[in-house]
């Protein structure tokens, strides 16, 4: 676990350093904004089959989750900005699918997908409607993977409790958004983020499962310019 945490801290610090390094060169055009809202994270799951020993075509489904987010952006120029979001972990229910469809909730996992975006904002800073596009570096961090009696029954009946680990992944995220300036300080904002995320799940009972998660995040927020 230490290894994982360290990598997150390193990543966070690296991200911060990057933001500041860019920021320093464009400090004069710089403006900080903060927005607060809700993010609905929906994995678009294409589950691989659970490997042996398993019932053929054992698949998994992952439910969506909504969590509050606090998003900070910094204007590098009038049109280019850097953005990073902070939020509580997304708790996803993992359910049986494929040949084990109908078995219900088998486990839960919490995910943190910290992403550093570089954005291009159209039009003048004073325009009422400012659409933007962005591309981000994402670190998908999975934690608190929790099994259940049902998961054990389906993977290793009569044996010790089955646990699972999901591989953390560096990946990228595309973004489109629209900020609507209400006045000089306040604005509302809608964003859709789509990440490419392929990872592997490892079960203590010996099986593995490849998962294409490719989550879509929809964020609705109210923001303030400093």
């Amino acid at each position: 676990m230490k290894v994982r945490l360290n990598s997150v801290v390193k990543m966070a610090v690296a991200a911060a350093a990057l933001a500041c390094a860019s920021g320093a060169s464009a400090q004069s055009a710089g403006q900080w904004t903060a927005k607060f809202g809700f993010n609905q994270l929906t994995p678009k799951v294409e589950s691989g089959d659970l490997t042996a020993p398993a019932l053929p075509f054992t698949k998994a489904a992952v439910d969506r989750d909504i969590q509050p987010v606090l998003i900070f952006a910094y204007g590098l120029t009038n049109n280019i900005s850097a953005e990073v979001a902070l939020g509580t972990p997304y708790k996803h229910k993992i359910k049986g699918a494929g040949s084990i469809a109908g078995t219900g909730e088998l486990g839960t996992v919490e995910a943190l997908p910290p992403t550093l975006f570089l954005q291009y904002r159209f039009f003048e800073p004073t325009a009422t409607f400012r659409p933007y596009i962005g591309l981000g570096a994402t670190y998908a961090y999975f934690m608190k993977e929790r099994g259940s009696g049902k998961l054990t029954a389906l993977t290793n009946p009569g044996g010790p409790a089955t646990t699972f680990d999901i591989d953390n992944k560096f990946t990228y995220t595309g973004q489109v958004g629209l900020a609507v300036n209400l006045n000089e300080r306040w604005f509302v904002d809608a964003t859709v983020n789509k990440s490419r995320l392929r990872t592997d799940v490892h079960f203590s009972s010996g099986q593995n499962q490849h998962m294409k998660l490719d989550p879509v995040a929809v964020v609705l927020a109210v923001g303030y310019k400093f």
Binding site: L55, G96, G102
Partner: protein, 459 residues
């Protein structure tokens, strides 16, 4: 600089938020429904040691699988059958046999050969399943009537259920997990009877064809009076064949003697009568095989109908004697693919087709009879076992290494242990013997049953 610190602080906070118990864990292992006990009715596939007495016990056997726990060698070698894995997962006491004993050969002097041990009923054990048990017919394979030396009780499922009901005052409390699985021995016994009758029919037809061919062959050699010779030889053959203790050799001797008596001395030479006998034998073989096959073909459909009856009977039993008497959680496993077992595969193609028809009819009647009920879980083991044997890709995903070879070789699984299996690693074989699974296959069965229980909302 101020902003830099601000950003760093926020990012560090995000990282810190992730602290504290981020590892994976098994989570809550309890199941929402707490069953009070497991009650099991059935045959060898659910038997946890009815015959684990006398010589069977001395041999280290007792269950119809690879007996004995050897998990240090391979975790799959648990010696457990599916009812035991199910109980372990549901945190219920390990099931024990409601009745023990054997009614075979008594040999008090040599416990290793003693197959007679008085029957004991265990009041606190609720697994009534017995190897050889049929749905309602008391004579199953292994019963003393069929195999006097072994003498399994083969108490039929119908009686097992009645015994339990008598024990618990006529009704279930509703919190028991009841499992029931039978019909396999009905297939095997019907098939054995058919096979015996077909063989008998074949033998009779063969003997007739042999006599006819022999008489006409020898008579034809008599060029002076073939008709008179035929009458004399025919009479001699008839008399000899009717005599107790006659064999084909004595019949040939009598026939040749009569042929010589009818004036054909040359026929006494083996060089002359030998080929005639050979022709008669060939005719007998052909006629016998034909008659046997015809008997099987004619009587096969009747067997299929018998199995349909047994399936319907089992379904009715589940509805009236189990659910009707208060059971709320009844697991009914259908018949696995018997035709794909080593026993089935060793049969002629036509017999395999007959087995398939018998099993399918049994399962169809069972399923139709059970209908839809919140209290009955019908588990389709047929489809799973068929897939395991006939789909190489599935075999691999199930983790099976061999789906055709018997792990116990020619040893009956009741007497098979981890010490007398065939050479090599048999831990992930599908079959222990002709028909019975290894502990690994039983584990797969239990896991499949649990999957269906989860879908039904019982887990």
């Amino acid at each position: 600089m101020r902003q830099k610190n601000f950003a760093l602080a926020l990012l560090t906070a995000a990282a810190l938020a992730a602290c504290g118990g981020t590892g994976s864990s098994g989570g809550d292992q309890s199941h929402p429904i707490t069953f009070s006990q497991q009650v099991t009715f059935g045959d060898s596939l659910s038997d946890v040691g009815t015959y684990n007495v006398g010589a069977v016990k001395v041999a280290g056997g007792g269950k119809f699988t690879i007996n004995g726990s050897e998990t240090s060698k391979d975790p799959a070698l648990t010696g457990l059958n599916w009812t035991e894995v199910l109980a372990a997962e549901l945190r219920l006491p390990a099931p024990c046999a409601a009745q023990t004993g054997l009614e075979g050969t008594n040999n008090d002097a040599n416990p290793a050969a003693d197959f007679f041990v008085p029957i004991v009923n265990n009041a606190n054990c609720f697994n009534y399943a017995q190897g050889g048990a049929r749905v309602s017919n008391p004579i199953g394979p292994g019963n003393k009537v069929v195999k006097p030396e072994l003498g399994e009780m083969t108490v039929p499922v119908k009686t097992q259920v009645a015994t339990h009901l008598a024990k618990v005052g006529g009704k279930f409390s509703g919190t028991e997990l009841v499992t029931i699985m039978a019909g396999g021995n009905d297939v095997l016994m019907q098939l054995a009877t058919l096979s015996a009758n077909a063989t008998a029919a074949g033998n009779t037809a063969g003997q007739q064809a042999f006599a006819t061919s022999l008489v006409s062959g020898l008579a034809a050699h008599n060029t002076t009076n073939p008709t008179g010779a035929a009458q004399a030889i025919g009479r001699a053959v008839q008399i000899e064949a009717a005599r107790a203790g006659s064999t084909s050799t004595t019949i040939v001797q009598a026939a040749v003697g009569a042929a010589v008596g009818a004036g054909d001395t040359a026929v006494a030479s083996p060089a002359v009568y030998g080929p005639i006998v050979a022709t008669a034998q060939a005719a007998a073989t052909t006629a016998g095989a034909q008659a046997g096959a015809q008997y099987a073909a004619t009587n096969g459909p009747a067997l299929v109908a018998e199995l349909g009856k047994a399936g319907a009977e089992l379904a009715a039993m589940v509805k009236t004697e189990l659910v009707g008497k208060g059971a709320k959680y009844v697991i009914v496993n259908n018949l696995p693919d018997v035709a794909s077992t080593p026993s089935g595969r060793s049969q002629a193609a036509s017999t395999q087709e007959l087995i398939k028809a018998m099993v399918n009819t049994f399962n169809a009647q069972l399923k139709a009879g059970l209908g839809e009920s919140p209290n009955i879980l019908y588990v389709d083991l047929y489809t799973v076992s068929n897939d395991q044997v006939n789909n190489p890709r599935s075999k691999e995903i199930y983790g099976l290494t061999n789906v055709t070879t018997k792990a116990c070789g020619d040893i009956n699984s009741l007497l098979c242990t981890t010490r007398n299996t065939i050479q090599g690693d048999v831990s992930h074989y599908m079959f222990a013997d002709d028909i019975h699974p290894t502990p690994y296959e039983y584990w797969l069965v239990a896991r499949y049953v649990l999957k269906d229980m989860a879908v039904k909302g019982w887990l």
